[in-house]
Amino acid sequence: MASPSEAAAGSDGEAQAVFRGITDDVSRVALNPTPKWWWPAFGVSNLMLLCLVVSLYHLFTTGIGVWGNNNIQGWAWDITNFVFWIGIGHAGTLISAVLYLFRQDWRTSINRSAEAMTIFAVAAAGIFPIIHTGRPWFAWWMIPHPNDMGMWPQFRSPLMWDVFAISTYATTSILFWYMGMVPDLATLRDRAKERWKQVGYGLLALGWRGSARQWHRYERAYLILAALSTPLVLSVHSVVSFDFATSQNPGWHTTIFPPYFVAGAIFSGFAMVATLLVPLRHLCGLKHIIKESHIEAMCKIMIATGLMVGGAYGIEIFIAWYSGNAGEWFTFRNRVLGEYSWAYFAMVSCNVLVPQFFWIRKCRTNPWIVVGLCILINVGMWFERFVIIATSLARQAMPGMWGYFSPTRWDVLTFIGSFGLFFTLFLLFARFLPVIAMAEVKAVSPEAHAGKDHH
């Protein structure tokens, strides 16, 4: 057998150059001195994070009354923000797991940052259900543990399902993200110049040395985690939807909710990934790894999920009418034509009409248009949750349970603050960790098959 290296020496060298190029471009982001744009961005994010700290301090010391919530609108921005963030937190796992199972190789360029985004979004989401309880310092009562009160959590409540679903999801996302990152942390370890970076990355890399026997188990574990994350990601937003759908409240109690929430989550998640990655690929010079075609693919997924969400809006209204249930029909008429119709139309236009622009090629390739449309979609998805929560509670069965929600400044500050937390964490990630899964990008590149003389 002829030595392959002799057989195609020229192209082999090119293959190695390609791998090296990927390593250089990605590790440069983490190892080079801080770029100029980073500090202002980090500063602004920290200011927003400060809003969260201040508003939480005020909330804890004063009480839920600082928000606009009242007896009728018992859930408002708090749960809206929770569902909004947890929805965004779905794209990461979707990209890493579901697209992996579907062998969509283009995912490798975006999965790392999408996973990171997932974790930070889940962190931002996790704040809200805890603080909305009124006495968040008792949140640990939701964890089953022996206690002197002799009490156990009530497992038949969808709110307890949430505790389990969200914590399982957070754990899985972190482990999946970290496991995927270990080979790349090893790359940073081997390229870092400063001793503290070598030690830091070295400890995180666990001594990874790219052994084939280890890769074998690693890949198997990765596949299993992907296969486990897929039903998990489906279940998490389904459980969130159960919070509403198990009730008898018109506008909440409908069976399409689980898949509809999941579709909406994927929709908003992709919008957020695109919002973050389009600037990132420009700022970090990663345009040749996060390619235009990848952004386009995300836009197409947004068309699909946007239409699914639109289909759910349609069938919901149709069945509300078809059912002959007076409460349902009244709620939906009120949702569309009542006091909150401005929110409803904001939701429909942002979620159903806006993604239709992505049919036009120009709208998928121009970064400004993509980011603009994606921000609109995120606005629309926030409104979707607001519409579901606020309009359904605003007109309950008795006129005595009618009301209207007006946010206070603390509602707004808390919401801004959650963005602060999210952006701060994301900027730290983009500065210090491998933003792109180098090993995976290399593995799916055509050069990964260089020198194979038969296949």
Binding site: Q248, H253, I303, I315, W321, Y322, G324
Partner: protein
Amino acid sequence: MSATKSIHPDEKYKADKMGGRLFKVGLAAGAALLIISVILGATKGDHWRRFLYAYVVGWSFVFSIALGSLFFIISHHLTRAKWGIVLRRLAEFMAGTLPFLFVLGLVFVLPVLFGNKHLYFWTHDGLHDPKHPLWHHMHHKFGWLDPAFFAGRYVLYMAVYIGLARYFAKKSAEMDTAPDAAAAAAIADRLRVVAGPATVAFGFVTLFSITDLFMTLSPTWYSTIYSVNYFAGAMLATYCTLALLARVIQQNGKLVHSVTVEHYHDIGKYMFGWTFFWIYTAFSQFMLQWYGNIPEETIFYSYRMFSDWQYVSLALLVGQWAFPYLCLLSRWTKRILPLLMFFAAWQLVFHWVDLYWNVMPNAQWTMETTAHGVFNMGPLAGDPAKHTIGFHFLDITVWLALVGLFLAAVGKAMKGNLIPVKDPKLGECLAFENY
């Protein structure tokens, strides 16, 4: 994987006489069973009620496979999927039965149009009388559930499906006769572009067609996820049928080199995936209605949980989900072909049980006013002795008759090449390997 392969030189990929044979066998079996069923239906003396219900179950079974095949084709073009190209033609043949299924569907749509009152409860006499106990549940939707409007919608839905199926089959066949690779690639590109709007049309029509055709069998009950659940079952059935059909064709000496264990492995993965999605939608529907505990909704499940139907419900849970789901977890179940074929057949049988379980209890819909003036309605009303499945041999014969006729229609559509020989990505599909 960008490795490619060309079609094996010994490969027999022409349909030749196989379609004709399938047509003959299917037609003979289908016609014979249909005659038996008609006789059974006529002698039952219930104004063809049982026959019509059994017919709807059987029709929804074959319709689901054709519908799933259509979605298989469209989604493959849309996502530029490569692994399933060798199976695409088979799906096109199955989707090609839609015009014939349209005609078969008229068997229960036309009676509704001409005043039959035994299938859909909303055609019931006296419902339009405001004194009728169900009037307040129904009166607002009489306009929608009007026999003529209903038949019109049936034609519209089927027209969309048939139009899509014919377009994709025609263009795909054109690819085979394309003069060069560039022309074939142009067609493939065109199909990919059309697949976008086609998916939208398919999705919206399906949301409503399934609601219309099957959910309205239970006149007052409603569920927004119903058509999604049916769609999940349809996709599952489609992958099972694809596996079986490909295997039968291979045992007739064709496609033996093109369809490899790798393709079956992927079919198996999809069977697993759709099984999960099916139980997910089924559980979502059940759990929310059970938990919500609203009488209009629980009427559907109370009957299926507390009469003899509870055994069918449990069988469905185990047979359609737990057992195949656990077994399909293993890589080997998907790669050892006899095992995979067993599960494909198993899941198809339980797909029928699923549809039977959905449709048939409505045949026992009754209404009565008790001595105390309390009004009872729904399948659980009336004499408890009647709370049985009411199984009749007819239920099976009609189903098998329709399967026979469906296969005959598949045979009729089976012409030309069994794989799209000039598809630009066929080479990659042939060399496809799971890793």
